[in-house]
Symmetry: C2
């Protein structure tokens, strides 16, 4: 196990490197943090930390920079989450409260996160699978064409076309609409399948085909997780990435355009609390030089989606985590209220 002082040295290295973006040497360390020991001692500690793989030298006779493993230890053991100040919290709340609809909530959240962390923000739309049905609407657009509109408790609206196997009268449609809503309104998505299972039986034989078609489209919509949308913002912050610009930034931009990748990224974070994935811990190769801080958020106690930021591994972890957590909390509140 590493001695207490060595951990302190590691912490100091991470902090300085994050601040200066430059490899940090033993002398500078002793000057800026009063460790109470000489540079020579620190050098010994550094050598030990390097042996353990927590820090590395870009080249001989340069200072040290933390490795992914070093950041990991820093995040897990050496640093907490820096809480937002009261004025900051108030600002967050004010900014989010101005939102007029779900799109706006998400858009504002992205902006806010990007601004607070000065990094790339990613916000997933509240997921369908965990929310509840507010209302299902059926519209007859043509004799054999029905439009299905699903409205969720988070204010999200999904619409689908249904081609009917047989013409479907307005009366039947109204009947189906009423029966459907009385069964599923207010219920969780996961409960819907068994609640509507026997619904076709209540209809005349000639209508059952259409009813089944509508129901299966509804169920499809409910489980269609890959339809999950997300919004990103703050990509301009990528320019603050580092010196070796184009090579690093390119794969990141590419990854950010792949919704699938991002959804997987957020989805992977199983931890109910905050998840930090550092450098190579990210499965996607293009993100190997980035860290992802993500957390679930939701209306009420339960998480319905994730949000987070993507930034260089050399990031201010405590501050970023604090901002992410605070934003998630307030977005949850806003969603619960609306």
């Amino acid at each position: 196990m590493l001695s207490e002082r060595r951990l302190q040295v590691l912490r100091a290295i991470v902090q300085d490197y994050v601040g200066t973006e430059e490899p940090v040497g033993s002398k500078a360390l002793t000057e800026r943090h009063n460790l109470g020991v000489s540079p020579a001692t620190v050098r010994n500690d550094m050598a030990a930390l390097e042996d353990e793989g927590f820090i590395a030298q870009p080249h001989t006779s340069a200072g040290r920079i933390p490795t992914d493993k070093g950041y990991r230890l820093f995040v897990d053991k050496l640093a907490g989450v820096k809480p937002m100040s009261a004025p900051e919290r108030r600002a967050i709340q004010n900014f989010l409260e101005g939102a007029v609809d779900l799109d706006d909530v998400v858009a504002r959240t992205v902006r806010l996160l990007a601004q607070l962390t000065r990094q790339v923000a990613v916000v997933q739309y509240p997921s369908l699978t965990r929310s509840t049905v507010r209302h299902v609407e059926l519209l007859s657009l043509a004799p054999a064409r029905v439009m299905l509109v699903l409205i969720t408790d988070t204010g999200r609206v999904e619409q689908r076309m249904v081609d009917c196997p047989a013409p479907f009268g307005e009366a039947s449609l109204a009947d189906l609409r009423a029966r459907l809503n009385s069964r599923v309104a207010g219920r969780r998505f996961t409960d819907v399948p068994r609640l509507v299972e026997d619904l076709p039986e209540a209809f005349d034989v000639e209508d059952r085909g259409t009813v089944s078609a509508v129901l299966s489209t509804l169920l499809e919509t409910l489980v269609e997780e890959n339809e999950e949308r997300l919004m990103i913002g703050g990509t301009a912050n990528l320019t603050r990435f580092g010196h070796d610009f184009p090579l690093v930034i390119r794969p990141v931009l590419e990854a950010l355009e792949e919704q699938v990748v991002l959804l997987k990224l957020l989805g992977e974070a199983k931890d109910p609390g905050m998840t930090v994935r550092i450098g190579h811990e990210n499965a996607h190769e293009g993100l190997n030089s980035t860290s992802v801080v993500s957390v679930g958020y939701g209306s009420g106690g339960e998480a319905v989606a994730k949000l987070g930021v993507v930034g260089p591994t050399r990031m201010d972890y405590p501050g970023t985590m604090g901002a992410v957590r605070a934003v998630a909390r307030y977005v949850g509140q806003i969603l619960a209220e609306s």
Copy 2:
């Protein structure tokens, strides 16, 4: 007026510079394009072109690069639009035909444009103001709360909450729904206001407040142009921008995140055909080193929205314009079919 040969020289300079990204000198020009004259002659022509402001030298004793004015002349007079090849056209069509809904159409269009042009693609969602109403749905969510859902002919769905001044019964709601739809379904947005003007009069006094509230929300939704959304993609292509990377790319990324800026950008292009804005012709400062190629598209003959690409002023204009035009045409087809 410039002689024919000088125009040829300008065209050659633009083509070479776009290809190599390096200032082009007189000797290289005569070698690669058989102009039938010697380098010395070309130098004289270059001097003339420089006097007129069509080309410039980065420094003395370097080759020339086109100025914004030079590109402008090139686009207006010297180059046409390069049509897509038949296989390319087929590929576009196939790719777009796989789309399942409006979001998907737009998403695919963005991807396609970004891939074809290897630049940043911007696609505006079909605008509300020019399209027609397919259906208006009203749902009663609480005694004094109605949700208004507007479905357009392009498949777009907008929803709004309406707070009613007085409780509103299901019967009245059904009545309003029926009357509303019989009047506005299939009509253009711009016609709606006068079509519903006298609608409140058909209702009991106690319901008129609510009817008015619903109507005014509907009208708001119809004219709310700033709610126009758009989708962008291919930002990874920004990395191919040039050498002086971060300085140029940063403002571009920032501009791209400002929907307002982009909408204005597309909106400014008044030309019914294709519009090309080169460098400083763009009002937004951050885009002064980019060119924007945009065009309207729409279901049926009429343009309902715009799409385009943003790239370095040093871009392949004929090819880009060809791709943009072709994509716009096919998207229009797809929208008309669905």
